[in-house]
Symmetry: C3
Subunit: 355 residues, 3 copies
């Protein structure tokens, strides 16, 4: 049930080079693809794999030279977009939630649910909540009292939006995420930690994604905010009163502590940690496992803990790595200097003797 | 629908300075507050913001001088507590779970559920479990076989307490947390990892919080224990047989490996990691992303990986940061020393010639 | 309701030394055990605890000398296996899910569910899914459209297997884990991040465990793969298109970025992070909080960020720790050298004068 390469080229608008009669079964990475699979060269750094791949065809940019003549090619200006189209051609339709409200869902009588919203088994919509047009609440999803879900937003299985949280349109909340948990705020007292009430909410703007089992805390007061178009990966944590700008991207397991404010297009690598009460300018990118404990005012790449500009951090690491060699050189200097000093003493003594 | 500042002062017992007729709409941070909002100066380090804030009123401690005369003030000895009261004055009532057992909940016939406990849609209480007075199980919460939930304890949506786990009174288990998962214990064998049975439980003492999507593993035998008053933030992990003392506080994404024992008032920063089989004395505080792989017997602040006393770690970091400069100085020394040595050789030669 | 030590020895095949009439109430650690409890010495490093333990009996290897005569002993070649048997003797039976499909579960009419599978309250099995023989879906578990669960596999409460994911036999999916969330793949554009469709699946081979609230993303195309016998602890993240070999073990909060390929028996310590598009050879072990950003071709222990062979990393850390001392020695060398140089100048001047 494959697709002929010539048809694939036609469907995706690609330029075909090679055997159009080839029957392609599906996409695969260059390293593992077989002769009935199509692969993809996006990053020129991996061009070396072209020589060894067993793929029948490869998606590649115009102008990239390929020595092998047995390899069919689909070319386009943007090979990544082309490959996405190729992958889509082979992908089955994703399952959709059945229309309407499942008999096993629990929807409060005074919740405002759009007629064309879809609500699955075991989902719960509490009193005063609003569910927008074409929104989907998959099984086990939860929308708390007075919370609102914008049009075309999807809550995957077990995604939880707690009381009073406002989620925009076209958002994707992945399975098991929690939006609107209480902020972690306590005052110490001799009897123990006293909870500081967290009476704010979370505002999730349009086109945001929140990853599987990620957590976003409600504000102490006012709102924790996730800006339009931002993407949070799995197991990310965003604390109370954080303001995330537009089009930010946080890789898995990154965390942002309370009251921190990020500009737009801020990128956090996996497991990166941002301290509380700091500001990161638009365009700041923090590397994986990086730790930021002060504000950063200039865009660019920052790595290490505490995070520094990438170039400076690499220089610092390289220098620190030479500490062992340096110790040997200092030891050598000490020995040679001691020798010189000893000779100096002897010369002075001799000099005085000679006089 | 604001509150007049004079009324706010009266309700909270604050001393009013300035225009009591001001209508306040709600609380906001100093940096973003408008003229109909009230803000808060708690930390004197932020006093500079007083000059620029557009807030109509500010909560502040007695005795702190304020130059601006257009800024209304509410003063108290403890401005943090006062601001909490102010915030509460504006907060709507939080939603409560409806009384009784929801028709969509599943409660085993032999579970012992207090008459005034509240159990939401989709919550499950297994055989032999006990639910205390006024406890709340929000939708999707789960209480396993023989587990017990103390009086006034709240399980937020999807919080899960597995078989045999005992949770104390007045605890707050946030959405999606798991208490009582199997410990991660395996013996290697040529055929693979063999699971070591984990037949213990978890004991969660009174007044404990466990964050959203956090996980606490059951013991191999005996009990993993979370001491009275301790607070665990979101996505925290506590492994099997760990003993956490009283009033500890773990920030988000921190983790504690198996069989480690912590004293009281131990504080872990975000993403901190504590190795297995170690002990941390009461009053140890580990900074964000810190890594502790040996026992710590003295209270105080520890940072870095491997964690060291804060002052020592900062000194070490500063010294390591000078490795580049040191390398330049060593190179310079080598050149100068070589010159001296060469001169020494020449002098000896000349000396011998002169004789 | 204890067990006599002689009976315990008989049941477990251990060799008894000491008072077989002792009534044992249960197992406990050496440090906290009382006179009616049995403890365990597995690691000879803890042998010192034998002198001070208040345990009534101890499980120990043949041949390990014990000076105390008041301590009853159970001996075997493999004390860990013996202790597991002892623990099991005291453990009550774990609760089992009731047979059949609970009335509160939702199973699609066209799902293929084995007759002896067990499905709990609130669990959901979507259209086209297959549930194997003796498999257990605990309350709140979710199996998506077309997904398959192998024989004897257990989904604990709230474990979620999304559309099209294939889980093998005898797997254990812990509470709240998510298998098959969308991979985190976006292309930047002036209007924001554009989602790259993730049309692949996840293949979880036989005998795999996935920890509580852990997440495994589906592939962009093809499959993310977790190899036979591998064990993932709580809050672990595995990104799209990652291939995990057989018998790997990832401790809690570890994460692996996209398209990375791991061999067999790869061990990741807690909070370790592996970058994207790299390869780790079979037998690589990365320490807690370690960060790997390039491929590793040799088995062995790696620690630190960026990760290095353990021995090299320790040497490097030790050397870096001496940077402060080195700075003092360099300063001393500079002073002494300046003195020598000054004397050299004086001698030359004097020499010329003398001539």
């Amino acid at each position: 049930m494959g697709i002929r390469l010539s048809e694939l080229a036609e469907r995706t608008g690609a330029r075909l080079e090679g055997d159009g009669a080839l029957e392609i079964r599906g996409p695969a990475p260059l390293e593992t693809a077989g002769s009935d699979e199509i692969s993809f060269l996006g990053d020129p750094r991996y061009a070396g794999l072209l020589a060894s791949t067993a793929a029948g065809a490869v998606v590649i940019a115009h102008g990239v030279a390929v020595e092998r003549t047995d390899l069919a090619l689909l070319r386009a200006d943007d090979p990544s977009a082309l490959f996405t189209a190729v992958v889509a051609a082979f992908a089955g339709e994703r399952a959709r939630l059945a229309p309407g409200v499942h008999a096993g869902a629990t929807v409060a009588p005074d919740a405002a649910v759009a007629e064309d919203a879809r609500i699955g088994a075991g989902a719960v919509v509490e009193s005063g909540a609003r569910i927008g047009a074409r929104a989907e609440l998959w099984p086990g999803a939860y929308v708390g009292h007075g919370a609102s879900i914008g049009a075309d937003t999807v809550l995957q299985p077990g995604a939880r939006v707690l009381e009073g949280v406002a989620v925009g349109e076209r958002c994707l909340l992945h399975a098991g995420c929690v939006v609107g948990s209480e902020g972690f705020g306590f005052d110490p007292s001799p009897e123990g930690w006293k909870r500081i009430p967290q009476v704010g909410v979370v505002v999730v703007e349009d086109d945001v994604e929140i990853g599987a089992n990620a957590t976003v805390d409600r504000a102490r007061f006012g709102a924790t905010r996730i800006g339009r178009g931002s993407r949070l990966d799995n197991l990310v944590h965003v604390a109370h009163n954080v303001v995330v700008g537009e089009h930010c991207a946080f890789a898995a397991q990154a965390g942002v502590a309370g009251s921190t404010r990020l500009g737009d297009w801020v990128v956090l690598g996996g497991q990166a940690g941002i301290g509380g009460h700091v500001r990161l300018a638009s365009g700041v990118r923090v590397g994986g496992q990086g730790g930021v404990y002060g504000s950063i005012t200039e865009p660019g790449d920052y790595i290490d803990t505490p995070a520094r500009p990438r170039r400076e951090a690499l220089r610092r690491m390289a220098a620190a790595g030479k500490a062992g060699e340096l110790a040997r050189r200092v030891k050598d200097l000490e020995a040679r200097l001691a020798q010189l000093e000893a000779r100096g003493e002897r010369e002075i003594a001799q000099h005085e003797e000679e006089r």
